[in-house]
């Protein structure tokens, strides 16, 4: 039954097909799928033991457990099997680090929103928002009375900053996605000087955000997410640059969470454009647009 449909339209793939590992660098075959979760866990532990970055372990555990639980349930429903927990673990831990609230419920809600967005918001069989980016942006907009994101609540120690950047760069490099990070960082820095010129503020003030913790997670775990980035290397660089450019305008408008909002808009837009181009190309070439199994995975 599925063959004719596949020829007339790009077939709807299984919503959660066989390769369940997602986020950041997980797709790269050159590294263990466990490495990114281990890396982000290390960031969390080192950060918390040295600076106490977390509101509490319990809130982070709530975020992680909620993400994994929702993934399990939705994966079981859609995939008829238990998904690998690494992806949801990273989503949960990202929420645990990036979201700040004195209450417990936002952590559970944000994780649930993040994971559910992968199943609810799909185009041509792919989820198009980075899950934790979607969840956190949704919380910042819808629950601003109860949450903030990690912006000023982390250590400003230079050694830990260098360590995270070096380690993160090595892992992203092995995953062959360092070009995304570097493109974004280069654009951010260049645009920082332009912003400083426009606003008349010290350039150090404009550079300052990228030396903070939110960006460490942002550049290593969010913008490099293969499920929600385009395929071509050049396209990835263009998208990274586009994120930086949109962030530039958000910042000129004094948006505190400019990078998160920029990714929120640019990421899905880039994916939709890529899908449209691929579909047209497929129709032109008379080739069925068989979706990439990996790309279609949750």
């Amino acid at each position: 039954m599925s063959q004719p449909a596949a020829q007339s339209n790009p077939p709807l793939p299984q919503i959660v097909p066989k390769a369940p590992l997602t986020r950041g660098t997980l797709l790269a075959s050159s590294i263990s799928p466990f490495l990114p979760p281990i890396f982000i866990t290390l960031i969390l532990l080192v950060g918390n033991l040295s600076f106490g970055i977390l509101e509490s372990y319990s809130k982070t555990l709530l975020a992680i457990s909620t993400a994994i639980a929702v993934e399990m349930v939705l994966g079981r429903i859609f995939l008829h099997k238990w998904p690998h927990p690494a992806s949801s673990y990273i989503t949960g831990i990202s929420v645990g680090i990036l979201l700040r609230s004195p209450a417990f419920w936002p952590y559970a809600l944000c994780s649930a929103l993040s994971i559910t967005s992968k199943y609810a918001l799909r185009a041509r069989g792919r989820h198009i928002w980075n899950p934790s980016n979607f969840g956190i942006c949704a919380m910042l907009i819808l629950a601003s009375q109860a949450v903030a994101s990690l912006s000023i609540q982390w250590g400003n120690n230079f050694a830990s900053l260098v360590a995270i950047w070096v380690l993160g760069s090595v892992i992203v490099s092995r995953a062959k996605r360092l070009h995304i990070t570097l493109t974004y960082v280069a654009c951010f820095i260049a645009l920082s000087f332009l912003r400083a010129h426009i606003a008349g503020d010290p350039w150090q003030a404009e550079i300052s955000p990228i030396t903070g913790p939110m960006y460490q997670l942002f550049v290593f775990f969010m913008i490099t997410d293969p499920k929600t980035t385009v395929r071509s290397r050049m396209g990835q660089c263009l998208v990274a640059a586009a994120i930086a450019v949109l962030e530039f305008f958000f910042r000129l408008d004094n948006s505190i969470y400019a990078p998160l909002y920029a990714l929120f808009w640019v990421g899905p837009t880039a994916l939709l454009i890529e899908m449209t181009i691929n579909a047209r190309r497929a129709r032109t070439d008379g080739i069925p647009a068989i979706p990439d199994k990996k790309a279609a995975s949750a």
Binding site: G52, P102, A120, F158, P209
Partner: protein, 593 residues
């Protein structure tokens, strides 16, 4: 095949429900707040009290002036010069009526001591008593003042905390104040915002704890460079040092902080002392800006920092207040620490540290559960029974910098504050304020304790309607009416006196203590009052809240038709005194046996 569409519908509905959850949470669990327009009669009937701002009619027309620091800081002057408004209550002339001392913070400005005229008015006597002109250029400016009878002569002496030269004034029997800093051996310069009188070693003489904010080698009017900001917004340890001045008894003090185990350079903004660990010795709680709070447990005169063990020193916030209150009437102090909350930007939430049951000194933050978590950019707070119903309520001052209502500095603040220490530690890297506000024009909180585990904000309804940049709050029964009045010092704003009218249905009792073996001020003395099957613990404080000190007299609300069983006084000397046959609606003056 059909399972997927059905599942899609279900997951879509689930997703929509999740998106709607914040609205539902906001709708169904809005922090208890009663927003009505003040109507004295209605308010009195509903809440048992009402407030009326009476400063001008009481003859007080004081407006705080902020400091102007080195011109290198011009761009961020509103931020770096955002403190200095303080208020403390003292009966400096022992006439039985509370007087008010307020600090000013512009170079050349004058502090004021408002003597209570017993008729609802006050007269400024600071100039004639020698404690007005204390902000001369070159000596720094006032930040806080605490009163304690350090020489046990029966008159409260004044310690003036400054960004500058700390000043100790001896009270010459209420007729004059003599500066004695040099004889006392105080340091040449401290940039501090908080100090506490307490007798840490129970030798019967008041000692003095002072916690620095900016490092003591920084002269804020003559900066060597602009690298004087905190090196982290949450983990800074490059602030001013802490001091513990041990009273040697001959007008001299010895600095012993290192010797007794106090060694920290966090940026302290508030501190208070109480016997939290039930050892008989007063412990120290320090609320630090840019970091975690510290709890110094006093082990018979030697301290160890136990903030993490106790649970209060884990999550770094922006501590700006320390107040103790027995909010559950269980004979134990909870601790209120104010922080910053700005919707959509930074939700630190204030902390209400409630002691756990059991022998270990452990606290849980129950601010959210009790409804006292969100108070804007919070500063000074005080517990007091404002309606005399027998439960301690909580008044909170807030609001950081109120300039242009339409333009906010928050974006620039967050942008820089999240950066590396090399950036945020240098004031030159901070964008200029250019007249913008930062959490300004905020409504105050008057949280009424319902006695059943909830606090309800009734500030607007009862008449606490100002939106000045509130800093310091002090409580006293200013007119000896059996009602706690509220005095609020505002940065760059007027001193406010909220006169409290309380329903006569509820009873009260007050105590004025005089130490003999203990320090004469009785600072550190605890009273546990037992009535109608309830008990409540209060203590005489040598400084608490933010840059403030309440009246030494202790006020207990009792509710209707109260029958008092007894009052048990635990003096700092260790003497325990039990008072029986007490009647409500009276002030008792008690001398240590």
């Amino acid at each position: 095949m059909k399972r997927i569409p059905i599942a899609r519908i279900l997951v879509t509905l689930f997703f929509a429900a999740l998106l709607a959850t914040p609205w539902m949470v906001r709708h169904f669990s809005v922090p208890a707040k009663d927003a009505g327009t003040p109507d004295a009669q209605d308010t009195l009937a509903r809440y048992g009290f009402s407030l009326r701002e009476v400063a001008q009619s009481a003859g007080i027309n004081f407006v705080h002036q902020a400091p102007t620091l080195d011109s290198k800081l011009d761009g961020i002057m509103p931020e770096v010069a955002s403190m200095g408004a303080s208020v403390s209550i003292v009966d400096y002339n022992r006439d039985g009526w509370p007087d008010i001392y307020v600090t000013n913070s512009a170079a050349g400005s004058k502090n004021h001591l408002y003597r209570n005229n017993h008729d609802g008015t006050f007269t400024d006597v600071a100039e004639q008593l020698g404690i007005a002109d204390v902000n001369q250029p070159g000596t720094g400016v006032s930040m806080d003042a605490v009163w304690g009878d350090y020489d046990n002569d029966g008159y409260e002496d004044l310690f003036l905390i400054k960004w500058g030269k700390p000043e100790l004034f001896h009270n010459d029997q209420g007729r004059h104040f003599t500066p004695v800093s040099d004889q006392a051996g105080l340091p040449r310069w401290i940039n501090a915002d908080t100090a506490v009188w307490f007798d840490y070693d129970h030798d019967g003489k008041l000692d003095l704890f002072v916690a620095g904010y900016y490092p003591e080698d920084v002269d804020l009017w003559h900066l060597r460079n602009t690298r004087m900001m905190p090196d982290s917004f949450e983990y800074a340890q490059n602030g001013g040092r802490k001091y513990l001045f041990h009273n040697l008894g001959n007008g001299h003090f010895e600095e012993v902080s290192a010797k007794v185990g106090i060694n920290s350079r966090r940026w302290a903004l508030a501190s208070a002392a109480a016997d939290l660990s039930s050892t008989g010795y007063p412990d120290l709680f320090v609320a630090n800006d840019y970091g975690v709070s510290e709890l110094y447990i006093n082990d018979h005169g030697h301290f160890h920092e136990a903030g993490k063990e106790a649970g209060v020193g884990f999550a770094p916030k922006s501590g700006m207040n320390v107040s103790f209150g027995d909010i559950f009437n269980q004979g134990k102090f909870s601790i209120y620490v104010s922080n910053i909350s700005e919707e959509g930007v930074l939700i630190q939430g204030n902390n209400l540290w409630v002691p756990q049951q059991g022998p270990a000194l452990k606290y849980d933050n129950m601010a959210r559960d009790l409804g006292v978590e969100l108070g804007g950019w919070s500063f000074g707070a005080q517990f007091g029974d404002f309606n005399n119903d027998g439960n301690l309520d909580l008044y909170l001052a807030n609001g950081y910098i109120s300039l242009d209502r339409e333009r906010s500095y928050w974006y620039d603040f967050a942008k820089v504050a999240g950066g590396n220490s090399a950036i945020i530690g240098d004031a030159a890297n901070w964008p200029a304020f250019n007249g913008r506000s930062l959490s300004g024009y905020q409504q105050k909180r008057m949280w009424l304790n319902d006695g059943e585990g909830k606090f309800v904000d009734v500030a607007q309804a009862v008449g606490a309607t100002d939106i000045y940049d509130g800093r310091s709050v002090a409580l006293a029964d200013l007119w000896n009416t059996g009602a706690l009045d509220i005095v609020v010092a505002n940065q760059r704003g007027p001193l406010l006196i909220y006169r409290n009218t309380v329903s006569t249905d509820n009873d009260w009792i007050e105590f004025s203590l005089d130490g003999t073996k203990s320090n004469r001020s009785a600072i550190g003395a605890e009273i546990t009052l037992y009535w109608d099957g309830k008990e409540q613990l209060q203590q005489v404080s040598g400084g608490n809240g933010f840059a403030s000190q309440n009246d030494r007299r202790l006020h207990f609300g009792l509710g209707k038709n109260a029958k008092i069983d007894k009052a048990v006084i635990r003096w700092p000397s260790g003497t325990v005194q039990t008072l029986d046959n007490l009647s409500p609606n009276r002030l008792y003056t008690v001398k240590e046996p």
